[in-house]
């Protein structure tokens, strides 16, 4: 891979060696994947969500495959903030890549406490605020769908925490532009979109839901065109950088997001399908730029040729 273009990218204060991250919840805390790929090559790692206290998550089954997609209802299972810092963060710190901690809560104060605590830790490069996880019955969805709530949450988070703040938006809204603008006004540094789409599957043989939690979040190629549309809409509405995700399986998919307006992308479900996907996407983006004779990645961002 000699002579590939420089893929470095700046998302405000957050500088990445390349624009390809791994999406929260699809890469654990990096430990398992470190056995399979070189984490130092990634633009960044968005950790599985961390909550203040340990969370047991949803009853099984938690996963079901649907056409070109995966339906999940993990329910934010995680060991809680303190164990995260002690065991997971200390592991992640060892790698030369950006560590973005995905945080979730059930009320505003949860978020503030986590953010405060993490801003004191070494090795955290940014926070990704999960206001959109559709699996948790309380909180979750409501945070992510109300612009006013988002505005206030972001504002307060900025007051307690100096880290770059990434707001992760849910696609389950009527107008994602509104939500994005509220986050921007509140002071969000970066937006990431999209989280999973609320969905459900029925086992017609048993007449039961296929997920223990009844409903779950749809991810994978099935949602890619929805995610690309939302990135395009939001990129026309805000002036902060966007991390695009949803069904990215190969470089071409990532480029759709970039051309539509994303300054970086995250690979999610595809990590399960092929752990090498993020590395292949990095390579493929480099090759594309080279083939097209585009010398700066930045000039590709939002380059969609249309009359707005």
């Amino acid at each position: 891979m000699n002579g590939l273009p420089d893929l470095r990218v700046k998302l405000g204060k957050l500088e990445l060696k390349n624009p390809v991250l791994v999406a929260s919840g699809t890469f654990g805390y990096g430990e398992e994947y470190a056995e399979l790929i070189d984490l130092n090559k990634l633009g960044g790692i968005m950790t599985k969500a961390v909550t203040l206290r340990p969370k047991e998550g949803n009853p099984p089954p938690r996963l079901v495959e649907v056409p070109c997609g995966l339906l999940n209802a993990i329910g934010l299972e995680n060991p809680g903030l303190e164990v995260f810092i002690r065991e997971k963060l200390s592991f992640l710190r060892k790698f030369d890549t950006k560590i973005i901690v995905n945080i979730a809560g059930e009320k505003e104060d949860d978020y503030l406490q986590i953010a405060k605590r993490l801003s004191k830790e070494n090795g955290v490069d940014a926070l990704e605020v999960n206001i959109s996880c559709p699996n948790v019955k309380e909180g979750g969805l409501s945070f992510g769908t109300d612009p006013k709530v988002i505005y206030l949450l972001v504002k307060r988070l900025k007051e307690v925490c100096g880290l770059p703040l990434i707001l992760k938006l849910t696609p389950n809204v009527t107008d994602i532009k509104e939500v994005a603008k509220a986050a921007e006004e509140g002071g969000a540094d970066i937006l990431s979109l999209v989280n999973t789409v609320l969905a459900m599957a029925v086992d017609v043989d048993t007449q039961r839901p296929k997920l223990g939690n009844i409903v779950g979040g749809l991810s994978g190629p099935a949602i890619r065109p929805i995610a690309v549309r939302m990135v395009w809409e939001v990129s026309g509405a805000v002036n902060i950088p966007i991390i695009g995700m949803g069904g990215i399986m190969k470089a071409e998919d990532a480029l759709e997001f970039v051309i539509a307006g994303a300054s970086a992308v995250a690979v999610g479900t595809a990590n399960f399908v092929d752990p090498r996907t993020p590395l292949k996407v990095i390579e493929g983006i480099g090759r594309y730029l080279k083939d097209k004779g585009i010398d700066s990645f930045a000039s590709l961002v939002g380059s969609l040729k249309v009359q707005r």
């Binding site: 699809t26 654990g28 047991e56 998550g57 996963l63 495959e65 070109c68 995966l70 399960f272 090498r276």
Partner: protein, 262 residues
């Protein structure tokens, strides 16, 4: 754990709807332990999307074999693979059968394709180390019995049950096992290992418990990553959720909360 592109060496039907596939993958063959599995991508396409997990059934030199039943899209595509095609494999994965040196007798209970990890266990080193290996083999009918001759060839005692009575005991393998237990033939220093459908495992586990015997079961759950990262494949253990892919697939039956199993 490795990710490799592995060549299909053969793929043959063993009984109707069940196939054995040989795969060339020295890295995995070298380190595989009985009870572990591989997570494979049936095709390089977006549908079906996820990998599929299969127990390792045999290992010989640089080759592994899986024994699988066609139940849906993925296994159907698998059954059409021909020699020379490549398959992307992750493996070996999970925790296999940990058998300590005090165990002198192995009692294996297999239902259907559940025979796969138990056959690997037996062929690998059970015979050399054990005073006795008894295999309970269950199937719907004699036509659907798997591995009877192979187990005999390894020098084990094989006890057969078929649901329609076309061979051996007429009934479920767990009934035959219960009968055998109640006749007091379970000697000390025995370990029970079972793999098969959930209702069977539940029964074997409870029978073993009543007999105060240690029982290992190999469990299944729908998987995402297959390597412990997504926490999608959990089952309920006595002390919280356990990942089938990483904490299992082989568990001590007493660590499982059987009331929570579907």
């Amino acid at each position: 754990m490795r990710q490799v592109k592995s060549e299909v060496l053969f793929n043959r039907k063993v009984i109707s709807g069940c196939f054995v596939m040989g795969l060339y993958c020295p890295e995995i063959a070298r380190s595989a332990e009985p009870g572990q599995f591989v997570h494979l991508r049936v095709e390089d396409r977006e549908e079906p999307l996820l990998r599929r997990p299969f127990s390792i059934y045999r290992v010989e030199n640089e080759k592994i074999e899986i024994l699988y039943k066609v139940v849906g899209r993925g296994t159907k595509i698998l059954s059409r693979k021909r020699r020379g095609e490549k398959i992307d494999l992750l493996g070996p994965l999970g925790k296999g059968f940990k058998i300590d040196s005090t165990v002198k007798r192995l009692i294996l209970v297999a239902g259907g394709v559940g025979v796969a990890p138990l056959y690997f266990l037996t062929s690998r080193w059970a015979i050399a180390k054990m005073r006795e290996v008894i295999v309970f083999l269950g199937a719907e009918s004699k036509e659907r019995l798997l591995c009877e001759e192979e187990f005999k060839g390894l020098g084990t005692k094989v006890k057969v049950a078929t649901e329609n009575g076309s061979r051996g005991f007429k009934g479920l393998i767990s009934d035959l096992f219960a009968k055998w237990l109640s006749s007091g033939q379970l000697l000390s220093e025995s370990l029970i290992c079972a793999c098969g459908p959930l209702p069977m495992l539940r029964k074997i586990a409870s029978l073993s418990k009543r007999s105060k015997a240690v029982c290992y079961v190999s469990l299944e759950q729908r998987m995402g990553c297959g390597i412990g990262a997504c926490r999608g494949c959990i089952i309920r253990g006595k002390n919280g959720y356990l990942r089938v892919c990483k904490d299992g697939p082989v568990f001590n039956a007493q660590d499982i909360d059987w009331n929570w199993m579907p």
